[in-house]
């Protein structure tokens, strides 16, 4: 993976860059002056209380939400209203959702090859091979011809990760990928994510899994009330949080 990435990306600038980004819902200021840079190969973990704007922020990165002020660059391209630009960026950015959002009327395999065949325009046979390879990697190749409704939550989320990977993205976004799962299924999803991180994938994860953050995170971002309150390396972030709000949040989340 890592090799392919380096070959494909001569661009040595940041993978994602948010510069003075603001967003409002009507009059409500959800994102306030967000500045964030993600290098290629960097793993950023975003945490914060609910309603802090962390999901909105990563949804802006592939334009599921529109920002209104400031600049947002993905792999050197600026996100504007230009549809071609948006499509080009979405090709390079994979996203995993809290509720999996698999297509229930298609088999697992069909879910996996839809994007590659219609967006990347890869021959069907090749797409199936790639899909099977990723299904092996998330350890459920035997489920290829089942429908999402027949799988457990953990399996569905692994399929969803594989679906994103089939697009060979440069950047992966995770929007609370484990918070809709039963406790016994969280690990199987996190294992897949850790493996991915070890291969050098650029990742932005919104998650409350602090163990995961410690293991793979390069940078911790703490958000509250639409602002980035603190941004540190994990060791510093967990052992010596500077901001009061971060301390309070960490004490709440780590107390049990």
């Amino acid at each position: 993976m890592a090799n392919a990435q380096e070959a494909a990306a001569p661009n040595l600038g940041p993978a994602v860059e948010l510069r003075h980004m603001h967003k409002w819902y009507g009059e409500f200021h959800v994102l306030k002056d967000i500045n964030l840079t993600v290098r290629h190969g960097e793993r950023v973990v975003v945490c914060g209380p609910s309603g802090s704007g962390k999901s909105t922020m990563i949804r802006c990165i592939n334009r599921l939400e529109e920002h209104q002020r400031g600049h947002l660059f993905v792999d050197g391209l600026e996100l504007t209203n230009d549809l071609k630009q948006i499509e080009a960026i979405r090709k390079e950015v994979g996203m995993v959702f809290q509720h999996f959002n698999l297509f229930p009327h298609m088999t697992v395999l069909e879910n996996l090859i839809l994007g590659p065949t219609w967006v990347r325009k890869i021959p069907r046979k090749e797409a199936i091979e790639t899909a099977m390879m990723y299904l092996e990697r998330v350890k459920i190749p035997e489920q290829a011809h089942k429908f999402p409704g027949q799988l457990s939550g953990g399996q569905q989320q692994r399929v969803a990760i594989a679906r994103s990977l089939c697009m060979k993205p440069k950047i992966m976004l995770f929007d609370e990928p484990t918070s809709a799962l039963d406790p016994e299924m969280i690990k199987e999803v996190l294992d897949v994510m850790i493996e991915l991180a070890e291969e050098g994938m650029t990742m932005v994860c919104v998650t409350h899994e602090m163990g995961f953050a410690r293991t793979v995170g390069d940078t911790m971002v703490f958000m509250d009330e639409g602002e980035i309150v603190e941004m540190e390396a994990p060791e510093e972030f967990f052992s010596n949080p500077k901001n009061e709000r971060t301390q309070l949040f960490l004490s709440q989340i780590l107390s049990h």
Partner: protein
């Protein structure tokens, strides 16, 4: 009771008192129900026979072979008052099927468009769709039919002064008169159309195959339209390039030549279509809304285009929600076409009603109406069930 009961009784659970045994009770109540229904029918039939005897009306369908003796305004098969009642009923049946089929097609189209408009991000468009839906849904269909009929008859000029917006097309209070092809040469055009249809289907399959094999996405729409244009042109030339049409002409008291769409048909078709479309629009809206936002987002984050998302993700899922209630709207439209009798369109109910009035055979007449509608309803629901299972099988 057989002799060896004593032996097997020991193996069976203790028996309840017979009138408390649920099985005995069930049998008892069922016998009561069946006997009650039979008794009621016997009573009704007995009364009916007595009454018919008293009024000297012969029962049975033999009267249907007699000469009908009344004229029917329009029909798809030839009919004169000298034909039998059977023939008259057939004309009515075909008229019912005609208005139902055309109504269903247009109600589906208008309903889908309005349903999608209702969900439009454009405030004005969504509001217009809402106004349409609410104002048509909440007013009785019969009133709407009366209204459309009165409007067509009242506003359009008399046949003599028919309004002709295009060459050969006339609008009058008797309906629309339109030119029709007059020679067999036009069959070439039709043949061209059919050949083009097959060709485009083949092109579609080939493009799909190319997409599967190379990933290349080839457009079917543009070349398809070109194929239609060229092949139909060739067909038209092969048929001798006919240019004349059988145009309607006003002679004496009415139009001759061309095709005629009567104002009764027009009013009925318009009323049924617009009314049913309002219901279908709501079904379409709820079907599309049933596909969660997450589906759109997941598809978008894969980089699919809007049209692709609709085609691969939203429509297949929405259709599953939409089809069953739409089927019952189709059934409703078919049954509602019986309101034709109120504005004088000769559908099955209208013709049978005239038959009843002329022959006095009320029971037979109503039996025919009911049998026809039951058959139609049953066929539509069987077809839609078959279609539904087919759709479900393809996807699951």
């Amino acid at each position: 009771m057989t002799i060896d009961t004593g032996e097997s009784e020991a193996l069976q659970p203790a028996k309840a008192v017979f009138y408390n045994d649920p099985k005995v009770r069930a049998v008892f109540w069922q016998i009561v129900a069946v006997v009650g229904v039979i008794a009621m029918f016997w009573f009704l039939i007995h009364n009916t026979i007595t009454n018919l005897d008293r009024q000297n009306i012969a029962s049975g369908f033999s009267f249907m072979d007699l000469e009908a003796g009344f004229a029917i305004g329009e029909g798809m098969v030839t009919y004169t008052p000298a034909n039998t009642y059977w023939r008259a009923i057939l004309v009515g049946l075909l008229n019912t099927i005609k208005v139902a089929v055309i109504g269903i097609v247009f109600a589906t189209i208008i309903g889908s468009v309005v349903g999608v408009m209702r969900l439009s991000p454009n405030w004005l468009v969504a509001r217009l769709a809402t106004v349409y839906i609410e104002s048509l849904r909440n007013v009785p269909l019969l009133l709407q039919l009366f209204f459309w009929y009165a409007l067509i008859v009242g506003i359009l000029p008399r046949a003599k002064e028919a309004y002709g917006p295009f060459l050969g097309v006339y609008l009058s209070n008797r309906g629309f008169n339109i030119p029709l092809p007059d020679t067999w040469g036009y069959m070439g055009l039709l043949a061209g159309f059919l050949i083009a249809l097959v060709a485009v289907m083949w092109l579609r399959r080939r493009n799909k195959k190319i997409h599967d094999e190379t990933g290349e996405i080839k457009n079917t729409l543009g070349p398809g339209m070109l194929i239609f244009a060229v092949v139909m042109m060739v067909g038209w030339l092969a048929g001798g390039a006919p240019t004349t049409l059988d145009s309607p002409e006003f002679k004496g008291f009415s139009f001759t030549g061309g095709g005629e769409v009567t104002s009764e048909f027009l009013a009925l078709w318009l009323g049924l279509t617009l009314y049913t479309a309002a219901f279908i629009a709501e079904i379409v809206r709820s079907g599309i809304e049933a596909v969660s936002k997450g589906q759109w987002e997941a598809a978008r984050s894969l980089g699919l285009k809007r049209g692709q998302i609709l085609r691969f993700i939203v429509l297949p899922q929405a259709l599953r929600v939409i089809i069953p209630p739409t089927t019952s709207q189709y059934l409703n439209l078919t049954k509602n076409s019986s309101l034709a009798v109120a504005i004088g369109y000769p559908d099955i109910v209208g013709v049978t009603n005239t038959t009843i009035n002329q022959s006095g055979q009320a029971i037979e007449g109503i039996a025919i109406i009911m049998a026809v509608y039951l058959t139609l309803s049953l066929s539509i629901s069987l077809f839609m069930n078959w279609y539904n299972t087919k759709l479900a099988l393809v996807e699951r």
